[in-house]
């Protein structure tokens, strides 16, 4: 039951993804991307990452996608069609995508069968190297969960343990603080870029037009 739901979800997700990439109408592509993000959120729920699913819906769909839709509506007319790629470029794109897919599918199958991907030789070489050992110890301290999950044996992050891990100095406190600075900087930067570009084009185009009109009036 669950497996069949997973496969159906995969099919819908890939269908939406194909529509995102192939649709000639930009608005339709944006709506398809919305479908992809929604399907991904459902997949996260299926993988028992509830908080991430929620963040996906609230941040991606509620924030980023609305912004994308606004940008689409502001910059292109609704019924407009984009030119389809030339056959040569489409062929190159398909070839590159196929090569990527082949490599990643090979890796996925090997990981799925429990084969080690690299790692073992590095682990052997690490034995004598003090720097590598120190790095390993550091990584181990980061990796150590501070609060044990409630039901042990299952690999599910409870909201409580997530919060404790996020605000723990041994855990993710530093990136958490850094990301707030990054978001602030991005917000200020976005406002500056959008406003500055508008001001320049207005003084270049609008000002010239006004001057021309004024001259015409005086003549």
């Amino acid at each position: 039951m669950r497996d069949s739901f997973f496969y159906a979800l995969c099919a819908v997700l890939l269908g939406f993804a194909g529509l995102t990439v192939l649709a000639r109408n930009l608005f339709r592509a944006a709506l398809a991307l919305l479908g992809v993000l929604l399907c991904t959120a459902v997949l996260f729920l299926l993988l028992q990452a509830e908080l991430v699913a929620l963040a996906q819906v609230m941040v991606y769909i509620g924030g980023v996608m609305i912004f994308v839709l606004y940008a689409v509506l502001l910059t292109s007319e609704l019924g407009g069609k984009m030119p389809s790629p030339t056959p040569l470029k489409a062929a190159v794109g398909v070839a590159v995508a196929a090569v990527m897919l082949a490599f990643m599918a090979d890796l996925a199958l090997r990981v799925g069968h429990g084969e080690p991907i690299g790692g073992t030789r590095e682990a052997e070489a690490m034995d004598g190297d003090p720097a590598a050992l120190a790095m390993d110890k550091l990584l181990e301290s980061i990796r150590r969960p501070v609060v044990k999950p409630v039901g042990d044996g299952t690999n599910i992050a409870s909201l409580k343990s997530l919060g404790a891990r996020l605000l723990d100095p041994q855990g993710f406190l530093v990136p958490f603080e850094l990301i707030s600075v990054l978001l602030l900087a991005a917000m200020v930067g976005a406002i500056a870029v959008a406003r500055h570009g508008g001001a320049v084009s207005q003084t270049a185009g609008g000002g010239g037009a006004a001057r021309g009109k004024g001259q015409g009036g005086s003549a």
Binding site: R2, V21, G189
Partner: protein, 106 residues
């Protein structure tokens, strides 16, 4: 539903996004293709956190979720800046064709 299934799904999503990034000429469409690829990476994070990595290592569910949350925040910041640039470019040039945006070309 297994680790392999999730990884294959993510690989397919990534390949579709790469195709879009290579063939689209509109700036917003290219950005949307990039979003597809980011989503593929996020699916990988959650899949490994849920099912564990290679060699029977158990995954770290909290770290996986938190990495994805951070990625979502970074992507939100990136998209805000990118779309601001899109709007600024559209104001100046009245089109969004990637091929013609060579203002920084020496």
């Amino acid at each position: 539903m297994s680790l392999t299934g999730c990884l294959l799904l993510s690989a397919a999503l990534f390949a579709i996004g790469a195709y879009g990034l290579m063939t689209r000429r509109n700036m917003i469409a290219a950005l949307m293709s990039m979003e597809l690829m980011v989503n593929a990476a996020l699916i990988n994070f959650i899949a490994f956190a849920r099912f564990g990595g290679a060699q029977g290592r158990s995954g770290d569910a909290e770290a996986g979720s938190l990495f994805v949350l951070f990625s979502i925040a970074v992507t939100a910041a990136e998209m805000a800046l990118a779309l601001a640039i899109v709007i600024a470019v559209h104001r100046q040039r009245k089109h969004l064709d990637i091929r013609d945006l060579d203002g920084l070309h020496g």
